[in-house]
């Protein structure tokens, strides 16, 4: 094991308290002589002292760790989110534990209990639908927790949300205005509230523009084995709706996968189609520079989730905290402007 306060204290013939106070910069406040403080610091350096955070945590009841639960770190959206949240957490004096839930409730449950056992000070989570009750109970018990991305319909849970309806509406509306008449929508995990909103935004935009909502243009892809499922879905769309002239992808993962399909089937998607996507990864800018994109505000979401959870930790005050972040809808990946200004 490492060096303990006790060892330093013994070496210097001081009490553990004196050493602890000095090393925690309470020396002046505790009226410990500058000379003693210097001796302590010197000795700690020599012995390469590192505080045992388990002991400290046990004592203070704080671990200085925040827990993050996301569906899948290999999803570029979540990895950038994780990075951002790590940075914010660090600034607030916390380190971050990241766990994947695989979008499975069982797994999410296990991560949640593990975090609680580890005495994590607060939890940030992009939850599956089914965890709602558990999360709600935690929050009601005064536990600092905040949801993002896959938030719930009701407003009783701390959350950082985004207007998914509006984002979808704006994208699809713009596609129509630029000439698309038969726009397909590709969703997955339709049961998620978030996804549902995107679906509704799509429908609203069509109806607003006097276009029909056509069932066979709407594909919901089971996320399990989506690589195969999307092929079937696109096949079906082309079979039933050969005049399809637009695709609205509700996640960048499906968009990328669709491009594989277009490529394999030698469909020149950059000609005669309007495309739109919720969020995007850099590769998409190369594959389809003209795609309309509703970019998730990663920075704002990151900042606010951490802010909310730390606020919950600091002030034990109740009350639901919820912020709504602006999605930037752009005409293309590189475009700086917001679509709404069209």
């Amino acid at each position: 094991m490492g060096v303990s306060l006790k060892q330093i204290a013994e070496r210097l013939n001081l009490s553990i308290a004196t050493v602890s106070w000095t090393l925690n910069d309470l020396g002046d406040k505790k009226n410990i002589s500058r000379k003693t403080q210097e001796r302590v610091r010197q000795c700690a350096r020599e012995m390469n002292y590192k505080p045992n955070l388990l002991a400290r945590g046990l004592n203070t009841g704080k671990s200085s760790i925040l827990g993050l639960i996301i569906p899948d770190i290999t999803d570029a959206f979540y990895s950038t989110m994780a990075r951002r949240i790590e940075k914010e957490a660090e600034r607030a004096g916390y380190s971050l534990m990241i766990c994947n839930s695989d979008s499975s409730q069982a797994q999410e449950d296990r991560m949640l209990t593990m975090f609680l056992s580890k005495q994590v000070d607060g939890i940030i989570i992009a939850p599956t639908k089914l965890s709602r009750n558990k999360i709600l109970k935690l929050q009601e018990g005064g536990y600092p927790i905040v949801t993002f991305d896959r938030v719930f319909e009701d407003a009783n849970i701390n959350s950082v949300v985004v207007d998914n309806f509006e984002a979808s509406y704006n994208i699809v509306n713009s596609m129509v205005r630029h000439g698309a008449r038969h726009i397909a929508i590709i969703t997955t995990n339709q049961y998620l509230y978030t996804m549902n909103l995107r679906n509704m935004g799509y429908k609203a935009a069509l109806e607003e523009n006097g276009l029909q909502v056509v069932e066979s243009l709407m594909a919901d892809i089971p996320f399990n084995n989506y690589e195969k499922n999307i092929i079937d879905a696109l096949d079906s769309i082309y079979r039933h709706e050969p005049k399809v002239d637009g695709f609205f992808f509700t996640t960048h993962i499906l968009a990328l996968e669709a491009f594989r399909y277009f490529f394999d089937h030698q469909i020149n998607i950059n000609d005669g189609y309007q495309l739109g996507c919720i969020h995007a990864i850099p590769a998409l800018r190369i594959l389809c520079p003209s795609m309309r994109i509703a970019m998730m505000p990663v920075d704002e979401i990151g900042t606010n989730t951490v802010r909310i959870v730390t606020e919950c930790i600091d002030t034990k005050k109740q009350g639901i905290k919820r912020t709504v972040e602006k999605v930037v809808c752009k005409c293309s990946y590189t475009d700086a402007d917001n679509l709404e200004n069209e």
Copy 2:
């Protein structure tokens, strides 16, 4: 705070020890009556008892946490590695803390000390060159630590390595055999041993095939602001070596970025060029289906890093542990065969 063993013990009029043993499945061994055990379990369930892992860790000297330090979780290679390692760690009974080092030694240092303070049981790290001494010292002190990906030249540190020289050699050799005569190589962080090996593999393949190593075909991109730097580098290559007919990318990040350049400059890279890349992401299969790829064995690396670090934890025995994993060099992304069988 949560429920403690003490509270359960008081409620049931038992000792803390009895409760602890029962809940840790030592009841039978300790000859605690089945009836008592049942009462304890029942009560724990009712009170929603969750063990405080800080306390347990402080006591046992084990945190059951492994630390992972990687340069950047948004890099697809590292995120898949992290996922894999998390899974393996879990199977071995550990949870994983992931930290980004940003390839900065200062940051890496801080993460390392943080992990030690948190009493992490072992560390897996893709290190920057400069951390060598620190890591070596830790290992010599008996601390379980293993490196991967960015390993060091000497063999004194536990590591899971890959034959970067051979991988590069095979890729470039195949490019030449398929007709390329002026192959550019794009590197970054050339100072890393790993990168250096890739560079040497490239040179060896050229020389073996009677081709000259041309300085102006070799671009080393400073990773800071690589998006801009690669543009300058490619500009320079096309200026000095207009006959360039092949590109060997030493990382998939640079490859993707180069495709942006090719696209912006309307260079049809799928015609008249031989391409090769170390590792790849799915988008590349769409952008350039004919690219030769040396795929990093993510699963094997993940399995072995965890195996080595847990072995170090379990058996305190010394001795350097090192494994060399096979890189699969393929003719194209979807190709199943190994290039060597050509």
